[in-house]
């Protein structure tokens, strides 16, 4: 009797909080009006074309690039990144892996792309953004399964978990400042608790995403770099350990969730 009452009380509390959450999402109507017509598809199309376009000193396409599931396998690859790659002896996310393939397979000079991996607003999307949109779209509906079998993959996760709480800069911000609590928002923007599976699932499964405010597809590395900017930190280096570790931390927590990227965000 006591127990059932206790359970009932919990159910009531949970039910209420779920309701409150639904009421709070005042942008639900707005987002619903987009249907499944995200401009991200335009970038996916460009990325698909780019994937099979010959480039670089060796004048070959990226079609033999190994994204973790074997040379040339695109379907499902994004749902299993970041992961450890023997040839590079590193944990790599999709974006660093793509640069690796451009350099090693195509003999492409990637200095400019490394320096400016993300397009400026109003300028064409970079190769990296186009390819990311395309490759992510080919994992749609597949369960996220970011591996934790190699010691370096475990290390990246543990490091990311710690970095999530790293407070620094003139504002004392860490990732946890905004993304460490349930049900909070900044202005009207709902915040996900990213050190929990629920929040990580919702977030990780929807990057890359078409950012409405910028009219561009943005990648998860961009999200990390832009968080660092808003944290008032110096520039986050593309493909750095800080970025990859945090992405791994998010991805592993999100394991099991179906990929649904590119997403659509404010």
């Amino acid at each position: 009797m006591m127990i059932s009452r206790f359970v009932l009380a919990i159910l009531l509390v949970c039910g209420q909080s779920a309701l409150a959450h639904a009421e709070e999402d005042i942008f639900a109507e707005y987002r619903a009006m987009f249907g499944d017509d995200s401009p991200a598809i335009l970038v996916e199309m460009d990325g698909e074309a780019l994937w099979s376009t010959a480039a670089g000193e060796k004048a070959v396409s990226l079609e033999t690039c190994d994204l973790g599931l074997g040379p040339g396998v695109v379907d499902g690859a994004y749902a299993q990144l970041p992961r450890y790659f023997q040839d590079a002896d590193k944990v790599m996310d999709l974006e660093t892996r793509l640069l690796w393939c451009m350099e090693t397979i195509q003999g492409l000079d990637t200095i400019d792309l490394r320096d400016q991996p993300f397009s400026e607003q109003g300028t064409p999307q970079t190769a990296l953004e186009q390819l990311s949109a395309f490759i992510a779209s080919r994992s749609k509906g597949l369960p996220i399964s970011v591996p934790q079998s190699h010691p370096k993959e475990v290390e990246a996760f543990e490091s990311g978990k710690r970095l999530f709480n790293f407070r620094a800069g003139p504002h004392d911000f860490s990732c946890a400042t905004c993304h460490g609590q349930e049900g909070k928002r900044i202005r009207l923007q709902s915040l996900l608790k990213l050190n929990s599976p629920e929040g990580a699932r919702e977030s990780f499964s929807t990057w890359p995403a078409y950012r409405i405010s910028q009219g561009s597809v943005r990648t998860i590395e961009w999200r990390m770099a832009d968080c660092a900017r808003q944290q008032r930190l110096p520039g986050l280096i593309f493909g750095s350990d800080f970025a990859i570790d945090l992405i791994t931390y998010l991805g592993v927590q999100a394991n099991g969730e179906a990929m649904n990227a590119p997403g659509l965000k404010r």
Binding site: F27, Y30, R187, L188, I212, R266
Partner: protein, 153 residues
Amino acid sequence: MSLDRRHFLSVSASMIGALVAGVALPFRLLAQQARPEAGFAATDLASAYAALGGNPEPSNDIVFTSPEIAENGAVVPVSVVSNIAGTTKISILVEKNPNPLTAVFYIAEGTEPSIQTRVKVAQTCNLYAVVEANGKLFSASRETKVTLGGCGG
């Protein structure tokens, strides 16, 4: 070609002559002739209306949808469905934009008087759908709130 008659009436007489004569004119030329430049240049609702042909009469036969509150004013989905017989033209106006007139759609015969698109809304204000049918103008309006999301930086 069964495009809206009214649209063609604004084309110069010589061009109509050419059309009647069956001379294939590039469509673009016609479109440019028809563009309501004064409407797009207007900086307030009243002068945009004037350029479209006058003040519309509010009508419940237009189903105009825009979100009550937009997460980002740069992209606001809008939907217009006209239940007014003989609808030939649908315009969308955003009252407080620098230039309220945003888009004009010419509905050909056989095309449903129903349009969905996405527009920029600079600040919280009324959005208007103006429908032209049988030479008369009708309108419906909706307020969309534009808010600040995110960190503001």
